[in-house]
């Protein structure tokens, strides 16, 4: 009986090129040519050496203009090859390489003829990735259970507000606990409407986002603005991990961070392990892919969905208190769309914790780069620089991810009848 199975596998391996793949390959070629043109036209304008400062007084320099010309030439050639015959299995690797080289050239151009803290920027990127990781993990916990949660933004914001208020009045860690409770309550509300009343999950999520934005702005003006003491928390200082932090380059980037970053990494590892190895993980994946199968085997689909969504709320609430820990206070709309970027991170990471971690680091990097470019005074309009993380989101989701598959039952209310 193995024959049909084998033939089926062979058919999967007999890969031709679909119309979509041909189009995608052509579009990439055009993008490379546009990047080549931008590089040649704009990024050759700053003469001198850009100095990239590493840790411990080390640094390296790059001659900005020659670099830009070499990169522009290479990009043009690659674009040509991509257009003419495609790069086949190297396509994705090539795209990643192009992205890295282009960004490096951009940074050299922006910095020349001065120096800037390259490792400092990378370290900042890791810091900025923490709230994205918490948001993305919350999103993954919901979506793998079959509940679409676009309210991550609202949950993060409610966590940021609560931790700032309670953290100011009582103490920081009590504030964090309160943030987890409040965000979990909002998540429960989403689950209740989505599961009990089968309201469209996207609409509920949308509503929660706006409700929380309005509520925190209102309460911010009415309560936090009354007395400074209500909105003042001591920021957390980075904790250097003994030994590891003295590794050159890697140490300052990864091991001189606040406890939030370490907990974020630990959470990723924990979820990856739990999804693969535990009963909870198996059942969660089952109710997200084929809830009826799980139901017929005696798994209580809706109960597990409730639990996972509420737990995800607590995770997002914890992530929201990152702003309090880093900024020391709450400002109106302080999350500024990071919850939506976290959703993009879920997709980029293909609904896996490890993948989402990689995605969050990339977006954290763009956040840090935005801060750096504004500081370097490059002549690029500030508004444009601020668009960078969002622009990167859309490019990465469209360009790198291609077709990825959400859990099959995501967004569908489950009814056992």
């Amino acid at each position: 009986m193995s024959t049909p199975t084998e033939v089926y596998r062979d058919a999967q391996l007999a890969v031709g090129r679909s119309l979509e793949q041909i189009k995608r390959s052509r579009n990439l070629g055009i993008v490379y040519l546009i990047l080549a043109a931008i590089t040649a036209w704009r990024l050759t304008s700053h003469a001198g050496t850009a100095t990239f400062n590493l840790s411990g007084g080390h640094s390296f320099g790059v001659a900005a203009t020659p670099l830009a010309w070499v990169v522009a030439g290479s990009l043009a050639v690659m674009g040509g090859v991509q257009l003419a015959r495609g790069l086949g299995k190297w396509q994705t690797a090539a795209l990643a390489a192009v992205a890295v080289v282009f960004i490096f050239t951009l940074l050299a151009w922006a910095a020349a003829p001065n120096s800037f803290a390259f490792v400092g920027m990378l370290s900042q990127g890791v810091t900025y990735s923490a709230p994205l990781i918490f948001g993305a993990m919350a999103g993954i916990m919901c979506e793998r259970s079959g509940v679409v949660n676009i309210a991550i933004e609202g949950l993060l914001l409610s966590g940021a507000f609560t931790s700032a208020l309670v953290g100011s009045v009582v103490n920081f860690w009590v504030g964090v606990g309160a943030a987890m409770v409040v965000a979990a309550l909002f998540a429960w509300f989403l689950a209740w409407l989505a599961i009990r009343f089968k309201v469209d999950q996207v609409i509920v999520g949308f509503f929660i986002n706006f409700f929380v934005l309005g509520l925190t702005s209102f309460l911010g003006n009415r309560i936090l603005a009354v007395d400074e003491a209500y909105n003042q928390v001591r920021t957390l200082v980075p904790w250097k991990i003994p030994g590891l932090h003295s590794i050159p380059v890697i140490g300052p980037i990864l091991f001189e961070q606040t406890i939030f970053v370490y907990i974020a990494f630990a959470l990723v590892a924990f979820l990856a392990w739990a999804f693969a190895k535990t009963r909870w993980g198996l059942r969660t994946r089952a109710i997200g892919e084929h809830p009826r199968a799980a139901d017929t085997l005696g798994v209580n689909v809706n109960q597990l969905r409730y639990r996972n969504v509420i737990a995800a709320g607590a995770v997002a609430g914890f992530g929201g208190s990152w702003w309090t820990a880093n900024v020391g206070r709450f400002n109106e709309n302080i999350t500024n769309g990071r919850g939506f970027i976290a959703l993009a991170v879920v997709i980029v990471g293909r609904w896996s914790p490890a993948g989402a971690l990689a995605g969050a680091l990339v977006f954290g990097f763009f956040d840090a780069m935005e801060a750096k470019l504004s500081f370097l005074n490059t002549g690029i309009p500030g508004e444009f620089v601020q668009m960078l993380p969002y622009l990167a989101t859309i490019i990465v989701v469209a360009g790198f991810v291609g077709r990825s598959r959400a859990p099959r039952a995501a967004g569908q209310a489950y009814d056992s009848q």
Partner: protein, 505 residues
Amino acid sequence: MELELRGITKRFPGVVANDNVNLTVRGGEVLALLGENGAGKSTLMNILYGLYRADEGEILIDGETVHFASPRDAIKAGIGMVHQHFMLVPNFSVADNVILGVEPTISLGRINRRSARKRVAQLSRDFGLDLDPDALTETLAVGIQQRIEIVKVLFRDAKVVVFDEPTAVLTPQEIEDFFRIVETLTAAGRGVVFITHKLKEAGRIADRIVVLRRGKTVGEADPKTATPAQLAEMMVGRPVELVVSKTEAEGSTTMLKVSNLAVTDPDGRLLVNHVNLEVRAGEIVGIAGVQGNGQSELVETLVGLRRPIDGTVTLDGADITHLTPRDRHRCGVAHIPEDRQRDGLVSSFSITENLALTGYYEAPLSKGVNMNWEGARTEAERLVRDFDIRTPSTETTTGKLSGGNQQKVIVAREISRPLKLAIASQPTRGVDVGSIEYIHQRLVELRDKGVAVLVVSTELDEIMALSDRILVMFDGDIIADLQRSETSHNDVGLYMAGAKGEHIS
């Protein structure tokens, strides 16, 4: 173990799905529950499995009344169910699908995969199922997936196993394997309930046959003595013609010619692998094959719903490869889609509106930008009469019609105009025996009028009954081109399983 259902009644708004149904199964025997679609077989089994609650009646195990509030209770009582649509998570391994819900765990809720794999392998060996616990479910053939379902119920130590239409998705050879597995189960003392609408299979495997019609048990039959005609009459309530009567085909000129046609999915996998075929005017060509071997994609490409990456389609000498579905339709192509709910009808529309879907843009159904509903209704009334569509009125929404009548609405819309080519995909899936008879006759009539007819079906009986020539699709290829008169059931079955034949087209 002895399982008894006594006086089961279940009402849904407007229908009585089960009306005082009684039946008994003992360990070691096979009970076939025979009935048409909508006779109430599935409702009855869902009650037995704790998915529905009965309004009246009781379930007894070894003489004692039991209550099932959920599948969990039914499983605990030793009842296992293999559903018609498999309840398998496609991206799980075989072992993970088996243990879901009853996972063996060690500390911290960790799954003990080693013990799970071992038990799955053990059960698979004991019952001759030949399963690899680590294989990824979605890569396995349907027949193998069914065995995962069987291991699932065995893993839960089921004493009575219910199979809901288990052979619908299998090749003839897989059906033989399946019967062998059922024999192993009964030999091990398990009771088996076999739900089906296929007369031959009920007669082949059952120890007793119970026939259900419109929610009622109409009688019990002994498979050793009952003839298919008798069973069919019990099932339908009137004598039924089981063979399609037709004369020899008079195929003449080539009407449809497909050359080197290739279709891929978005990831570039070939679904239709450079296929060539011809259908002559006045000939019925049947495409046999197990579901998912590229037939659906081939049909979608022929009617213009998919773009091929290579190859041409000509109709009566004219190249139609790049025409839109509407243009093909106007050239005289009819399409009866495989899934009538999804592609054939708008179920919230009335019969009139559904009948107008293909020709709404021209007279007599419209005048300029306005619909001519009066004309459409007159036209609909004529078709309802001509095609024997059983409905209170032409304004009834099609969602309220039975499967057979829904299918007749589609057939009426598609073939009631001058045609060159008719493509019918699974034309009688989920349709009652009476309507099957009717639709088959209509297709033969079309042929006799000189239309080229292409029938795609996974039901081998249907292919054998209708076709003048049979093509077999396997894995995106047409691997056999056979004259109906020169081939047998068994032969076509072997091709369908991919056990013989090669890329011939």
